[in-house]
Each structure stands twice: as structure tokens, then as C-alpha cells.
Symmetry: C2
Subunit: 223 residues, 2 copies
Amino acid sequence: MRNPEKLCRQLGYEFKQPELLDIALTHRSYGSRNNERMEFLGDAVLGYLVSAELYRRFPQASEGALSRLRASLVKGETLASIATELELGDYMSLGSGELKSGGHRRRSILADAFEAIIGAVYLDSGMDNASRLVQRFFDDRFSRVDPDTLEKDPKTRLQEYLQARGNELPDYQVVATEGKAHEQRFRVECKIGTFDATVVGEGTSRRKAEQAAAEKMLQALTN
Amino acid sequence: MRNPEKLCRQLGYEFKQPELLDIALTHRSYGSRNNERMEFLGDAVLGYLVSAELYRRFPQASEGALSRLRASLVKGETLASIATELELGDYMSLGSGELKSGGHRRRSILADAFEAIIGAVYLDSGMDNASRLVQRFFDDRFSRVDPDTLEKDPKTRLQEYLQARGNELPDYQVVATEGKAHEQRFRVECKIGTFDATVVGEGTSRRKAEQAAAEKMLQALTN
């Protein structure tokens, strides 16, 4: 386990009680004095800070758009990326079993540790410093998100469009796959019984082809 | 719609910007200037405040216990009870369709409005006053919750106990029902194949009888 000096520089925060950082970096596999409670607290602090910032930044965004933006910002994948930038795995205390199975690289463990660090800063010196920490790592991300581009995906929109009108739901079927394993292309047919309508979408995965087909169907129905 | 004077007395809070309270009390069916965004914000503020308070009050509680306590405190049913005490429905602006269908009594609408009020107080004067408001309505509830009694139910615990040991899961079967419709008693057998173990639980519903059987089985396995 590395000395956390560099980590504190990257966090831009000096702990008055360094033992709080120790706990934040201790996985439950290491012992009973671990970061689980701090993660609970950090998760709630982060949820509030991100919600309040989104509320301020996007005065025109609907509640639904705000919820989707928040979900995209606080999801495990985002937190794990930050934790990886910080090389949190190098500073963590893990039980021997987790160590052997590569737990210090497991993304959920890293994401949880980053939340625990937010909790530790909050406990060490309150909400203002927790807010500074979150700003430091989320400021770029706040600037990049856009309530308009975070629309629902085409399949969801198509389903909602049809449900709202009491129509049958679409059926998706792969009609062709082309190319070798790592460069496959999928063709998916989207069919809605009641309309006798069929369109075909293409993509590099089944999911993408379905989304492309749903988008085409939406255009066909709404034009 | 009632004048909100009495409501403000009950909230123990005087708005500097009374229009924020107006918005908090406006359902989306009434118009585009409604409480949805404020509810988003209030929900996050409440989540943080309740989490921080539970963290402080229960230094020994596990993360799992804290999560369950929080869920029990911020669930819609709890918020709707508070909203009903406050008679929020009487103060709300709803669209005519919602009014006719009794929307001012619908519990989800009331719960959302209470969260929006927390958001409105936060916007009007910051976290300290939002915290005071939450304390005012949750203080009793905080005192009543107990991490030990909010344990997982016996069926869940039995399942987790067995899964952790790689054992077969239990099978529940009603072996007898006695009494008339409104005073029935159920007897349920809980069986685990690998242990050749069988116990019987009783209760006034199938669910209760299953829980009683699971509890007995847990005792049998752990004693």
C-alpha cells in the first residue's frame, strides 16, 4: 500500500484526521473497520451535491432530464473512472483473498472507495470541502453533459410512443449477421403487428442495430 | 386552495420568497410552472439529511442496516403520512382532471409535494433551514427506528444463510388452512432437501406462516 501523500495532492485536500482516509481506503475484506459506512454517507453527499449543481446549471431541464443526468454522473462506471485516474487501487487495504483475485482492480471496489473518500472529507471538515472535492472531479463532467443529448434511447421512446397510444409493442428480430467475430454487423428487423410496418436497422452489435431500427420506425410513424 | 398561513406555522418556517412555496404546492397537471424540479431537489436534500443523521445516530449499524433504515424513513408512505398530517392536499393547485379524480388525496402526489417543500426551503434559505424542517418531522421517527429490529426478514436471512454455504434453497408448502375466510390460520412446511430437514410454521396469512417456518428453520440450523 502506497503512502497516500500523492493521493492527497490529487484530491487537493489535506486530512485533519488521516485515519478517516485510512478507513475510506479499507475494503470490508480487510476487516471490520472498513469503508462501508463511509461509502453509504459519501453516496448520499454526492447525490445531493450533484443534484443541487444540476438544478442550478440547467434551469430549463425537466425533472426527468435532471434524473437521467444525475444517473449518468453518479453511476459506478463514472466513479470507477475517477478512482482509476487516482490509482486508488494502489492505496487500498484488501483482504488476502481479494488481493489474490485482483480486487484492487475491480471497478465496483474502486467506485465504492471513491464514494467513501467523499464521505471521509465530509466527516473531516464538512459539506463545503466535500463540495470542493466533488467540483474538482465533476466540473468537467458537468460541463460536458447536456440535457438535450441525454434523451431517452430510441427503443424506449418507441415503446413509450406506442404505449401512450395503446398500440401493440414492437418485435425485434436479427435477420442477418455479416463479417467475422470482431467486425460483425447485425441487421435487425423491427415489426409492429397492428401497423403491418417493418423496418430494418444495422449496427455493430445487436443492441445498436435494434436502436437503429427503432429510430427508423419512430421516424416512419411520426412523419 | 387554502391560504398557506397555517401550513407555514406547522412547518415552523416563514418563506422569504413565498412564490417558492406556491410552486412546491403546484402539481404538474396544473401547468408548466410546477413542483417537479423542486421535488427532484428536495428528494436529494432529504436523502442526504436522513443518511447523515442515521450515520451519526447509529455508529454501530452496518451499511446494510443504514440503507434499510433510510429506505423505511424516506419511502413514499412515510412522506405521504407527513403530508396528510399537514393537510397538504388542501393547499395544492391541481389540474381539473386531477381534481375531479381526487388527486389532492392521492398519496404519491402528496408525498412529492412534501419533498418539493423541502426543496423550496432549501432554495429559500439553504441547508440549515432544510435540516431544521426535516428534524421537525423526522425527529420522532429517528427515535423510533432501531437498526436491530429492522433486520432482514427470516426468509431472506435463511436464503442468504443457505446461499453463503452453497446449499439448496428451501421449499415452502402450505400443508393446512383452518378457520373461515376472515380468521384463517395457515400452516406452512419449510423443507430443505439436502438436510432432510422439515419444520412447520403457523400464521394468519400464508406469508406470515412462511416467515415463522423460516425462523424455526434458522434456529434449527444455527443452534
